[in-house]
């Protein structure tokens, strides 16, 4: 039967081995995959400003992006393709809560410049290679 020291060895050994593999895979992803898949050359100062606006207003508190966030408002990874620039800017610059289907968004009333920054960020994120996410509706007639 398993002794306590063998059990401890299982814990320590297992942890060290899997953590080492995890670090190796992470290193590979971050140095080889991320720059290509996210088109890092397109990360302009405007895109980065857009990300800052995205974060400082906690957009993830209602929406998801890359499938991450809250489930109160639509997934926005491909919103640039789906809705286009004018629609997104109208939602961001609106002085009254934007509510196309009844559910209200905070009225941010952004300036044109800030709205452009967010649009640039959303355009950039729409071009990231996400292994096929979000899926195409396959039951759609």
């Amino acid at each position: 039967m398993l002794s306590k020291s063998q059990a401890r060895f299982f814990f320590m050994g297992g942890t060290i081995v899997t953590f080492a593999i995890f670090l190796g895979l992470s290193w590979n992803s971050l140095s080889n995959e991320v720059p290509k898949r996210t088109h890092e050359e397109n990360l302009t100062p405007q895109v980065i400003r857009g990300k800052q606006i995205w974060e400082s207003n906690n957009c993830m508190g209602c929406h998801t992006i890359l499938g991450e966030g809250a489930y109160y408002a639509p997934e926005l990874t491909k919103v640039y393709d789906r809705r286009g620039e004018a629609y997104i800017k109208a939602a961001l610059m609106s002085k009254t809560p934007w509510s196309p289907r009844g559910r209200k968004m905070v009225a941010y009333a952004f300036s044109e410049e800030k709205a452009d920054d967010v649009v640039a960020f959303l355009k950039w994120i729409g071009e990231v290679d996400l292994n096929g996410f979000p899926p195409k509706p396959d039951l759609k007639k």
Binding site: K4, F19, L30, P74, G102, L130
Partner: protein
Amino acid sequence: MKYKSQKVAYWFFALSMLLLSLQIVYGFIMGFAHMGMDGLHSVIPFNTARAVHTNLLVVWLLSGFMGAAYYIIPEEAQHELVNVKLAYIQLITLALVGVVAIVGYHFNYWEGRKFLEIPRPLDWLVVVNVLTFLGLIVTTLFKGKKRTTTSLVLTMGLVFAALLYLPGMIWFDNQTMDSFFRWWVVHLWVEGVWELIMGGILAYLLIKITGVDREVIEKWLYVIVGLTFISGILGTGHHYYYIGVGKVWLIVGGIFSALEPLAFLGMALFAISMYRKGEKKHPNKIALSWTLGTAIVSFVGAGLLGLAHTLPQVNMYTHGTLVTAMHGHLAFWGAYAMIVLAIISYTMPNMTGRKLFDTTTGLLAFWLSNIGMLGMTVAFGVAGVAQVYLERKVGLEFGDVQKEIQVHFFILVTCATLFTTGIICYIVEFVKYGRPTDEALEIENN
């Protein structure tokens, strides 16, 4: 209670109770908003309620873990806590940082990164606070007569949790990198080091309540935390399927996260078999219920419901839908909320000297909260699956789908009311116990 300084735990538990109550209030705000009743939108918009709800959860659980450590470590190490005053200062500053963060969320002062919304300047205060806490725990442990496996596993969990907070404080321009390291904190906390903390507290409770030999319990503790790390570290991959990193994570994440339920199954089997093996003489039946409950519900909520959508083929459709909320609620309740409620139920009679075992209110608290939370999980699950089919398979608009599934949020809020009644019973019991007293020391020693 064997040491005077263990009383510090009481105030951490009291803070937990307060924050848990607030967390539930904000949960209701969100439940009603999903039903279309968003009257508070201009004061507390959904993103505020959401950030407050999840952050309060994290802070009340951490406060509970800290209280547990302040109670368990002196007893296991057989040494008074090295500095009680500092522990109280740590408590007050923890509460202050929490309050400032929560109030800030109402005034757009945050950084919108799911679960890590606390702004960076406050992050540094959290770091100082946690270092103070760890300093007190580790010094007590090393000054003590004994360093038991239980106390080492618990301390290791707390130290790793602190270290893993740091990757979440780095700024990245690239959203993919940001997300990648955010999961180092969030996933490696809840599916890694927090399980060490849970395992440590669970082992302590089983040793005390079942009377089974420490060597046996601690041996299996190593096996369980071993399984946790072997599956959980590479299981981080299930968050990397669709965020802009390579396909290797689909395989690694898929395989290892499918193994994650094993650790929770181990935890459940471990608790049940130790209970069957034990003497069944301990009078604190309520604490026993919570202890066995946490082991079983965590297996269902974190283990099985996690497995339900962890494979990449499934997750492609469920990723970013209410299915995640379904898993999240029962997982956090079973694994972490219940372990904190278990340690509180066990320690309160020891700290106050009042033996309120087997009261009706206490039993009601256990059953109502569990049944309520199971009902909420089902409601989230039904809403989530309907959302997946209508939106991701049939291709309806998000907003139209949300209207279709509104009715499930009525059931959610109903079950949440049941759950809340249970929690109110628990808090009533907590208040009835009163304050901890030094006389409890003599009761224990007689």
